[in-house]
Symmetry: C2
Subunit: 494 residues, 2 copies
């Protein structure tokens, strides 16, 4: 068969494939795949291949064949079937988020994230299931919007074929270990599992990341079909990118109009030194006890700090954590992303730092940089910034669905107060490293930032992850306010 032959017309009417045709076809397909790999790198496409299906449907063989012609330095294979403790203590998509590929690389998942909703992993009410489906849909959407190619394959085999394969595997001592009780259960209860799989596939069959159902009774046929689908999809993506490259991104000036900006609040709230000391002592004692409760009840807490430069985030965080058992919390300072972080989805680096159950993570700045500095300084195209509100809300919902308690604080000061603090810092030899030219430049854009923050506060204020604006002209007042809110809510929820 020459390479010029119309492969599709040969293949389209095929239900199984003979050995000779298989070899010829594979030669052509693998060559195409190999050259596509170069395009994946060139166009910096992140690719996710997920393989799911019945036990003994041949996922391993299929994955091997697909990767056969690819450079092993550019893909990673992850076996996701086993629910380790590490995973169980985190939001259910965490283990997939942290393994999403960088641009130009391929992540292959042996068993998909969708599978986590099957009864083999957890018992869920219908409502809870719906929550899971929403999370999965948001996960895939976020990746697709960022240019990810997601291909999901479900390998079907008949009850009879599965039975034969189990017996064949068990016959040889070197493969017998691959069949366990759960596998046999699946064969005996084929009808019931069939319903579950079907529901999973139907409910997660999203536009742009549909499932491909592959009949795997004939392994060779399955391999050819799978590789063809991969080639078609990636070629389409490259075509799409070529066209997109011709249309330049236009950064139109972006006057942000916010009515009733939530930042317009009275900042003249104060606390006197004596009351501050008493309250601080009481509240720190309280949150310290809550830290242990959080641990024993295996609840996790995420606290986001945002605010103007010099608004007092560092000192506020310090007072919050001072008496909590240091084994129970972590403070994550967020700076400009590294090259590696930039090559991933922007939420990737935050997922890497999410607490496990029983712990608290405090983000000193956060994913909200996307709709503030990245928007105002035009680091990120306007469309991506606009999409981020939903993406952030969805991510926070995913955390909340897992039971994470979320706090978000905006530390608000006015321009005069900031100026006073900048000047004080510049005079203090211990603190003047904290103030840079950039801080002064940002200050000049106060109005733009104020509008962007106002919009952000409005669009991302949710029941499960509400914002609190903290009047911070008086640092002490601000510290007590944060402590009071955190302890009050934890009192209710722990």
């Amino acid at each position: 068969m020459s390479e010029n032959i119309d492969l599709n017309s040969v293949l389209n009417n095929m239900k199984s494939i003979d050995n000779k045709t298989y070899k010829q076809v594979m030669k052509v397909l693998e060559k195409r795949l190999e050259s596509l790999q170069e395009s994946i790198k060139e166009y910096q496409i992140p690719v996710i291949l997920a393989f799911d299906g019945w036990s003994a449907a041949g996922k391993g063989t299929l994955i091997s064949r697909v990767l056969h012609s690819l450079d092993p330095r550019f893909f990673n294979v992850f076996t996701m079937g086993k629910m380790t403790e590490e995973r169980r203590l985190r939001p259910f998509l965490w283990s997939f988020w942290t393994k999403t590929p960088a641009k130009g690389r391929i992540s292959i998942f042996d068993k998909s994230w969708c599978r986590l909703i099957l009864p083999e992993h957890c018992e869920l009410s219908t409502k809870e299931k719906a929550g899971f489906y929403y999370d999965i849909s948001a996960f895939e959407q976020q990746l697709k919007d960022d240019g990810f190619v997601i291909l999901k394959f479900f390998l079907e085999i008949s009850k009879e074929e599965q039975n034969l394969r189990f017996k064949e595997l068990e016959r040889k001592p070197e493969t017998a270990w691959r069949v366990n009780q759960h596998d046999w259960q699946q064969n005996k209860d084929y009808r019931n599992f069939s319903i579950q799989f079907n529901e999973m596939v139907q409910k997660t069959n999203f536009k742009g990341s549909e499932w491909s159902i592959v009949d795997a009774d004939d392994t060779k046929f399955a391999i050819v079909k799978t590789i063809r689908i991969i080639i078609d999809r990636i070629e389409a993506e490259i075509e799409h990118r070529k066209q997109k490259a011709e249309r330049p991104v236009i950064y139109t000036p972006d006057p942000i109009v916010v009515k009733n900006n939530p930042l317009n609040i009275d900042l003249f709230k104060e606390i006197n030194d004596k009351e501050y000391k008493v309250r601080l002592d009481f509240l720190q004692q309280k949150i310290s006890e809550q830290g242990y409760k959080m641990y024993t009840k295996r609840k996790s807490v995420v606290i986001v700090y945002e605010g103007w430069d010099a608004a007092g985030k560092g000192g506020n965080i310090k007072r919050l954590t001072e008496r909590i058992d240091p084994r129970a919390y972590e403070v994550v300072p967020i700076a400009a992303p590294t090259a590696e972080e930039l090559s991933h989805h922007y939420l990737w680096r935050f997922f890497n730092r999410m607490p496990k159950d029983g712990h608290m993570t405090i983000f000193d700045r956060s994913w909200y940089g996307r709709v503030m500095v990245e928007r105002i300084e035009r680091i990120t195209p306007p469309d991506d910034c606009a999409r981020a509100y939903k993406e952030i809300n969805d991510m926070e919902l995913h955390l909340a669905n897992h039971g994470v308690i979320i706090f978000k604080f905006w530390l608000q000061i006015d321009q005069e107060e900031q100026l006073a603090r900048f000047e004080a810092r510049q005079k203090d030899p211990l603190k003047n490293y904290k103030i840079t030219d950039e801080d002064w430049r940002n200050r000049e854009k106060w109005d733009q930032y104020e509008a962007a923050v106002g919009e952000m506060l409005k669009k991302t204020h949710t029941s499960y992850a509400p914002w609190t604006i903290v009047e911070s002209n008086d640092k002490k007042y601000a510290r007590i306010k944060v402590l009071e809110i955190v302890t009050r809510i934890l009192d209710k929820l722990l």
Copy 2:
């Protein structure tokens, strides 16, 4: 008490401390610690604090107090008591290596790496214990040589005091969970545990990272003593760095002389196409089966590929892995370190990628960059490069002690062959991205590299991690040779 008082003279003769003195002393100490924190950042010192000791000796309280005056964005606390599956499947220092701090940061370990040799974690013969001690000694030495400050604290309490504290904890429902059966066992069997702890402390009491034994029956006394030790040690380190900064590093020209360079071998080894195909098919089938065996026997394999530019590493790796189940191996391409990697010990990034038991990791270039490119291009000071041979040997021994099977291949071609391949690559539009100006520049330093490589091969060729020089002028011969060696050794060891 004024800050000018001689704190040491007050404290040195103290065995316990009253409340009033404690408060005054702590005020002074915390202020010092706070300003030391700035110096840690300024001088980019990585600091490790390890706390170990008897149950209920007050590690938690102590850690809290030590961290009290520090900025929570600059430290991380790790609870290391629990042996998770993730850890058990890795060399025993892996979980500590991956958590070593970046320069200017502090890692606090609740329970030390030394504790892993206690019977509560594993049953070891005396010989095996000695191996563990060697690994621990090498671990600490490598970090100290890189400028890490390591402080290890062992908290002592008497049998009576421990008994009282357990009872006190059990009395209150909110703390009762903190005492378990193992804790009580320790109290009942105090004498025996005492011997174990003593052995641990004595055997790991290395110069420059000695244990500080802290009498913790009186908690306040223990806190003051601990903080004083930390302050003294870090101040000494800063003094040391100030002096070092005055002595500039001299990069003397570095003519490398290697007698009997192992690279001087006959490169004219070839294999004909027919034999290549037959051998390749046979060996790939074999290593594929060995992949499963490796998995079921929970053995892990590390394969290092080094060699000249265009020596054919990529193609060689591809033939090696082609038929192995992709879930069983990972290929890790090593490029110039990122900023984050540079801020850590140079071995840190490799520990992060070590396989877990049952898996294979192939490094396409590796830690050997330290004694090749980093040496020749003077990226790393000569002393650090010279030290690296032992560091690398020690790291590989640590892996081997855990049961990791290590292969190291040097792919050898001659200058003429390299030139031919460079020229061929430049003509091929699919491959010309592979060849850069740097490749041409490196070529000019062939002799220097050859000498450095020769020295490296001699100094790091060990029984547990031997080098194989692979004649690679004929790529096919090279592929078969690697496959033959790997399969032969795995046959013996699996």
